[in-house]
């Protein structure tokens, strides 16, 4: 453990101790309010380009296990916590958080007033920042942070997607499996723009044979597999920078039933003519209330996004708003009035987060079944 400094581009800085790797890293700082799920957060490719501050002070308590990962490796640029647990206590733990970060060369910083940081970000919005164990002069670091590249307008999808095409067969571990059913299976192509594995596990469990293709795949390449449905995944960064995927979606609309999550939802939104904009500090946590406007029921959702589709830019005749965030009334879900197509901004695959929105996978199944 060595001294480390976290400095934001606007001059605010914190002194703490490093854990995991040493060095110097850059990224946009966001905060996540989940009490559990740091392992899923670390391995969620959507965090590419970002440093995550956990609002809960004790992190690392239950260690790391191989089954709860959301991708092949952690993606966060840096990890900010109040206090790293001195010990790991969980029957499934295989290594400590610190060992894990070290292994993947991720820099963590602890011992800072994370609440102060969060309040600051809440007020000024997400900020570019640097964490360093090499340079400890805050002033110099602030300058470095200012100079670091922004994620606005940058395509980060290419950096996180798996370039290979593969079939995904992993299922949920038995002790946590639920919602499983013995029904007719359909083929689905999942477009990987940084896909979380739990989406794939869920698709698998809900009666789909899953083939994963990279986000760079074209519509004709995808249709070649003759899928019964196409799934559009989550992913990092600015959705307006992923023009090629918007085009692919445009080409697929009306040809095959589609379901999109997070970045996938933003792709669909743009393909339908909508615009996206960046939220002040985004939604990152497991406690966001979303109302399903069809049933008027509330689901507590897992969220991780900085950008949203502007609800006012969607063509009214074609698109129906299906879900709304009750905290800030932003768009959380839409469906096409004519074509078999719907999407949500949040994460029905949870992981981390509540399982309230699992029904969306069933909806997708029903849609595919109807159109098959």
């Amino acid at each position: 453990m060595s001294k480390a400094v976290l400095a934001l581009e606007d001059g605010v800085w914190f002194e703490g101790e490093s854990f995991g790797a040493d060095g110097e890293v850059f990224g946009e700082v966001v905060f996540n309010t989940g009490l559990t799920g740091y392992q899923e957060i670390l391995t969620d490719p959507s965090y590419k380009g970002q440093m995550v501050a956990m609002t809960y002070p004790h992190i690392g308590n239950y260690g790391i296990n191989h089954a709860d990962v959301e991708s092949s490796r952690p993606w966060v640029e840096g990890f900010i916590v109040k206090e790293l647990s001195p010990i790991v206590s969980n029957y499934r733990s295989e290594m400590t958080l610190e060992q894990y970060l070290k292994k993947h060369n991720i820099l963590g910083i602890q011992g800072i007033d994370t609440r102060k940081l969060v309040k600051h970000l809440r007020t000024v919005g997400a900020k570019k920042a640097v964490i360093s164990t090499r340079e400890l002069d805050p002033k110099k670091l602030v300058k470095k942070a200012k100079k670091s590249p922004s994620i606005v307008g940058v395509d980060l999808v290419k950096e996180v997607m798996n370039p290979k095409v593969y079939d995904f067969t992993e299922v949920m571990p038995a002790e946590f499996a639920w919602g499983d059913s013995q029904k007719k299976r359909y083929d689905v192509v999942a477009i990987d723009s940084g896909i979380k594995w739990n989406i794939l596990r869920k698709l698998n469990q809900h009666g789909f044979n899953v083939k994963v293709v990279p986000a760079s795949a074209t519509a004709s390449e995808i249709l070649k597999y003759k899928p019964h449905g196409v799934f559009l995944s989550n992913g990092p960064g600015d959705p307006s920078a992923v023009k090629y995927l918007v085009k692919t979606v445009k080409d697929l609309i009306g040809k095959v039933p589609m379901f999109g999550i997070c970045l996938g939802h933003q792709m669909i939104g743009q393909a339908l003519g909508g615009k996206t904009f960046k939220l002040k500090f985004g939604h990152h946590g497991n406690n966001h209330p979303v109302m399903d406007l069809k049933t008027r029921k509330i689901e507590i959702t897992s969220q991780n996004h900085n950008f949203v589709v502007d609800i006012n830019t969607l063509p009214k005749g074609e698109v129906e708003i299906t879900h709304i965030n009750l905290n800030d009334k932003t768009l959380e879900g839409l469906e096409h009035k004519k074509y078999p197509l719907f999407s949500v901004q949040y994460h029905p695959e949870n992981s981390p987060g509540p399982h309230d929105s699992d029904y969306l996978f069933s909806r997708f199944y029903e849609m595919v079944e109807k159109n098959a």
């Binding site: 009490l35 308590n61 239950y62 709860d68 969980n90 007033d113 994370t114 509330i298």
Partner: protein, 1098 residues
């Protein structure tokens, strides 16, 4: 869906007296529910027998009935008020049970009242073991494996199937006898045989043992649209085997991965929907096998609870308030989150701090009690603390307990087995030697393994004794995560100890130590300094706490509710205003002698001062209370009530002064030290407090106003004590100086019992002297509550105790107005009390206790603060005394407040005490100078007899109207008993007695049946009790201990729920009660009707 319009008037059932397992939390939830429903435009009717509650204040409900919580009285209230619905989920188990009983007797159907919040069927499903099990299995949830057995052979088969170890529980026994854990068939055979014997239905349950598993709890809410949210997750530090009320609990859960946590959340959701809780809050308890992760459901409570109050305070999410709104049809998305204002209640709170709840026990008050913690709850209160880390919260919690501890040891109060470690040297010596003392080490581990109230300290001692985390875990099953946190505190302590004399090291370590929750007092101990020096040093270094907000959302949104906790970090959010402000110190955790009454007074002060335009700042550490509802004061600091913590807030907020006479003895004890540190104390001066509390000064005070005091003396040794006692004459009352609640107070009738006492006394009071007073035999005790502005004084009420002097005033029944004492004596008492107030220049409240012996008035003690009886008096006379007192403390006069004359109520009110004996099987129930009651009820009616009868009914020791009364009294009571026995006979009772008393009754020609004593063969008195062949027991103790017949009879009476009267005066009152209700049926009347609109002022 909007709220229901088909119901207009709702009846809320309160929880009655404070008992173990049911404390102020139900006043908090009940008061919230009343407010919430009124806010929605409903008429609210309330029934609760406990006068010391905010919910029974006339300002809250539209009609408040302080009447017994029985089906009979509930129905009377329903007949009178005709409510459309009843909300039974706010009054704890008492409220729920009453509603179930009333439903089963057809009361609700008869009067067309709908149960809202929880339906009868749902309650039954949740509460009935078998039905619950079936429901859980239906939705695929796992429970501990179990089955019934009716023979030893069957038990063996069941156990074999389940796998050892198993727990045997005998069905339908009292006090949990006939249960035990069995590790092998041999143990099982023995326990099963015993269990079958004990069980009245010859049935035992064999259950899979989950002792040592991790215990979790989820606080959840659900609305009628099936919207479901988890408010808080809680993980217990003490693993399965200790009642959750007796466990140290931590929020949020610490050792579950997201997958494990979400699995639990899913299970809780299934439980809610299967049981059918459609509108409200519940808690679901889980156990998790630490080795395999297997999760089983333990139980669920379909109502708000102690843990929902805790969860509300831990997260800032007001569960009871919202539960009440859901009960009338609102949905979660229709209710705004009070704290953020802009987001709805349909979200899950997230927190960015750690909360620790620590139970408070009172074993020292019950001789011979089994102090091991089990699945039967034994704690009487709890403290909660908040810190940014568990370490900080734990140490803050330990110093909130009012057990004179200042953190996780190292505070001069450590006591390892019999070894006290009062000095730094003793402590160091212990640390150095203990790893080498084999037997001692093992004893320490044995203590760490068997949970008692100080288990947390034994976990520490085990570390000091050289055990490793793995070893401690293996023995105690306390999760290694918690142990590792303790270890961090201990390691830091070792470093701190090393830094003695090294100013530079001390200074570099200071911040980190404070972050770990160490108090200045502990640092002073480690460094051989005084607390004040550490404080000075700390302030010089600029190390001050910051105050952070509890906001339900981990700072994601702006919060509007000023609810704070201290921590040592960078940013302070307290943002002190420039307004005129007053700080009010609360009473800390409930314990015997200090309970809800003081919280009631503090809340009243807040309300009154707020109305006057002051900013009110509340400081308290008890999560059960109304005072710690963030809705009560302008600013709430959830902090320990120690000098350090209070000063920190004071210096940050700079109020114009502090009120500490309303929070009981806890804040009063800080008076001197606070003043010495420049704090302005509002109300009665510290000097006056000292004059009342210091023995010599007090003596001079009484002398000055020519008031007698029982002859007394002071002793510091056994010899001295004997000498003093001899001089003033036996019997004597002995007690350590400076105690509350009659702690370790006893009556010694002769030298040998005095000697016995003195040996124990040294233990209770350390090196402090022992006070010896002449005991006034057969004296009547009186209690006076007075209010004064420094010049004028008005007596709130003079109360006459039913039990004679010598029984702690908190345990006696007391009556307004006095019923047997001469009018002149009462007037003399009023006069003298006012004189004392004048002499002390009391500003605020004062309580004085007197004993009247043969017409002579003796002053027993003066308490220059609000007393336990303030709410009772206020509700009897219709004047909110505590509210007035607060106004006096900021400069108003009684004339300003238009309260200048005593009030003579036209009704009679009786306060009766409620005892926890049923939780302590085998403990003798006799009353003594040591306070033992946990709560109180009030009976109010036209005359003494009726009011007394109601008070007994409310105290759950209903006097039967007919049947058999067993009478057996000590010799000195024998002359008084024939008259009472004859009265019972005339009332139609059959009188039975054992030899001695029977002889006396026969002599006086009272018809009596003589029965055998326990030692005289059978069927004897014990058999009569066991077979419930008697309906009432009158048994006065001879003072010879619980081992004799009489002690056994009394404790059996408790087990079999037979009312037992232990004083002649109470027996006499019972006769009057029975005479009063013989021909005339009891009626109910609301507090509003008793007082008209008068009480609404103030």
């Amino acid at each position: 869906m909007p709220k229901r319009t088909d119901i207009k008037k709702i009846l809320i059932i309160g929880s009655g007296p404070i008992i173990i397992g049911q404390a102020c939390e139900f006043d908090y939830s009940g008061a919230q529910a009343v407010k919430a429903l009124k806010e929605e435009g409903y008429k609210v009717v309330l029934i609760n027998s406990n006068p010391a509650t905010i919910m029974t204040d006339p300002e809250l409900a539209d009609a408040t009935y302080i009447e017994p919580l029985t089906v009979e009285f509930l129905e009377k209230v329903i007949v009178k008020e005709k409510p459309d619905a009843v909300l039974p989920t706010m009054g704890g188990q008492t409220g729920l049970n009453l509603a179930v009983e009333a439903y089963e007797q057809g009361v609700f159907t008869r009067h067309n009242v709908e149960m809202i919040g929880a339906k009868y069927e749902a309650i039954k499903k949740a509460e009935n073991r078998e039905e619950f099990k079936r429901a859980m299995q239906k939705v695929g949830l796992d429970l501990p494996k179990s089955n019934f057995a009716y023979s030893v052979e069957e038990a063996e088969k069941v156990a074999e199937k389940i796998g050892y170890p198993v727990i045997v529980r005998a069905s339908f026994t009292l006090g949990g006898s006939g249960s035990g854990i069995c590790n092998n068939p041999e143990e099982l055979r023995a326990t099963a045989r015993m269990g079958l014997d004990y069980s009245m239905v010859h049935e035992i349950l064999i259950e899979e043992s989950i002792l040592g598993w991790k215990e979790f709890e989820l606080e959840v809410m659900r609305d009628h649209k099936d919207n479901f949210v988890v408010i808080c997750s809680i993980e217990n530090l003490d693993p399965m085997g200790v009642h959750t009320g007796d466990s140290i609990t931590v929020a949020p859960a610490q050792t579950l991965t997201d997958r494990e946590y979400q699995r639990m959340r899913d299970a809780a959701r299934k439980v809610m929907s299967e049981i059918g809780i459609e509108t409200g809050g519940s808690n679901v308890q889980f156990a998790v096998d630490p080795k395999t992760g297997r999760m089983v459901i333990i139980e669920m409570n379909p109502r708000v609870s102690r843990s929902s109050a805790l969860a509300s305070k831990a997260t800032g999410f007001p569960i009871a308030k919202f539960a009440a709104k859901l009960a009338v049809g609102l949905t979660l998305d229709e209710i705004p989150n009070d704290i953020t204002k802009h987001t709805p209640a349909s979200f899950e709170p997230t927190i960015d701090y750690c909360v620790v709840k620590i139970p408070r026990f009172a074993f020292e008050k019950f001789e011979g009690v089994d102090d091991r913690l089990t699945t039967q709850m034994k704690s009487v209160g709890e403290a909660m603390s908040i810190g940014r880390t568990f370490k900080e919260a734990l140490q803050k919690g330990l110093r909130s307990l009012e057990t004179k501890r200042f953190g996780l040891g190292g505070d001069g109060k450590d006591k390892v087995l019999d070894q006290a470690l009062e000095t730094r040297e003793e402590y160091l010596q212990f640390i150095k030697t203990v790893p080498h003392r084999k037997e001692f080490r093992e004893k320490i581990m044995a203590y760490a393994k068997t949970p008692r109230e100080d288990r947390i300290f034994y976990l520490k001692y085990a570390y000091l004794a050289g055990y490793t985390t793995e070893e401690i875990y293996r023995h105690t099953s306390v999760d290694p995560w918690f142990l590792a946190q303790l270890k961090q505190i201990i390691d830091m302590e070792q470093e701190l100890l090393q830094a003695k004399g090294n100013t530079q090291t001390q200074e570099t370590m200071m911040r980190k130590a404070k972050e770990y929750g160490f108090s200045d007092r502990q640092l002073a101990f480690y460094w051989g300094l005084r607390e004040g020096d550490v404080r000075k040093k700390r302030k010089k270094l600029g190390i001050k706490p910051v105050y952070k907000l509890v906001d339900t959302c981990a700072a994601e949104f702006k919060a509007y509710t000023p609810y704070f906790y201290s921590t040592y970090e960078e940013e302070d959010e307290a943002n002190p205003s420039k307004r005129k402000k007053v700080m009010i110190l609360g009473g800390g955790p409930n314990r015997i002698g200090q309970g809800i009454e003081f919280d009631y007074c503090c809340v009243h002060a807040v309300l009154a001062l707020k109305k006057m335009g002051y900013e009110t700042i509340m400081v308290n550490s008890n999560p059960e209370t109304v005072s710690t509802d963030y809705d009560t004061s302008d600013k709430l600091f959830f902090e320990p009530l120690t000098l350090e913590d209070v000063l920190n807030i004071y210096e940050n907020e700079k109020p114009l002064g502090v009120i500490l006479q309303l929070g009981g003895q806890t804040p009063l004890n800080l008076a001197k030290a606070l003043e010495a540190n420049g704090v302005r104390i509002l109300g009665t001066s510290v000097k006056a407090i000292d004059r009342a509390e210091d023995r010599d000064k007090f003596k001079r005070l009484l002398h000055k106003i020519q008031l007698s005091q029982p002859a007394n003396g002071i002793a510091t040794s056994l010899e001295e004590a004997c000498e003093v006692a001899k001089k003033i004459g036996y019997p004597v009352v002995v007690r350590p100086s400076y105690v509350l609640g009659g702690r370790a107070m006893e009556i010694a009738y002769d030298e040998s019992s005095l000697k016995k006492y003195m040996k124990k006394a040294v233990e209770a009071s350390g090196k402090h002297p022992v006070l010896i007073d002449k005991f006034l035999e057969d004296a009547t005790e009186m209690d006076v509550d007075l209010i004064s502005d420094g010049k004028t004084a008005v007596v709130g009420a003079v109360m006459e105790h039913i039990e004679e002097a010598g029984i702690h005033s908190g345990d006696s029944a007391s009556v307004i107005p006095p019923f047997s004492v001469a009018r002149e004596t009462v007037e003399e008492i009023i006069f003298k009390t006012k004189q004392i107030a004048k002499e002390l220049q009391v500003v605020g409240l004062m309580n004085v206790q007197y004993a009247i012996q043969k017409g002579q008035v003796y002053c027993l003690e003066v308490n220059p603060r609000a007393s336990r009886t303030v709410p009772f008096v206020s509700k009897t006379i219709g004047v909110p005394l505590a509210k007035l007192a607060a106004q006096l403390m900021v400069g108003k006069t009684l004339k300003d407040l238009k309260f200048t004359e005593e009030i003579s109520p036209k009704h009679v009110a009786v306060k009766e005490s409620v005892f926890p004996f049923v939780k302590f099987p085998g403990v003798d129930i006799i009353l003594s100078p040591e306070m033992k009651s946990t709560g109180e009820v009030m009976g109010i009616d036209k005359d003494f007899g009726k009011a007394f009868y109601k008070s007994q009914d409310a105290a759950m020791s209903r006097i039967p109207k007919k049947g058999t009364v067993f009478i057996s009294v000590k010799d000195s009571d024998k002359p008084k008993i024939p008259e009472i026995a004859r009265a019972f006979h005339r009332l139609g009772f059959k009188v039975v007695s054992t030899k001695g008393t029977a002889q006396v009754l026969r002599d006086y020609r009272v018809p009596v049946q003589e029965i055998l004593k326990i030692t005289e063969g059978s069927p004897n008195i014990a058999d009569w009790v066991r077979n419930k062949k008697m309906d009432l027991i009158i048994n006065t103790p001879s003072g010879k201990g619980p081992m004799l017949d009489e002690g056994k009879i009394r404790s059996l009476a408790v087990s079999f729920n037979i009312p037992c009267i232990t004083t002649v005066s109470a027996a006499r009152a019972a006769v009057r009660g029975l005479q009063a209700v013989r021909d005339d049926e009891l009626d109910v009347k609301s507090i509003h009707d008793y007082h008209g609109v008068k009480m609404l002022k103030g």
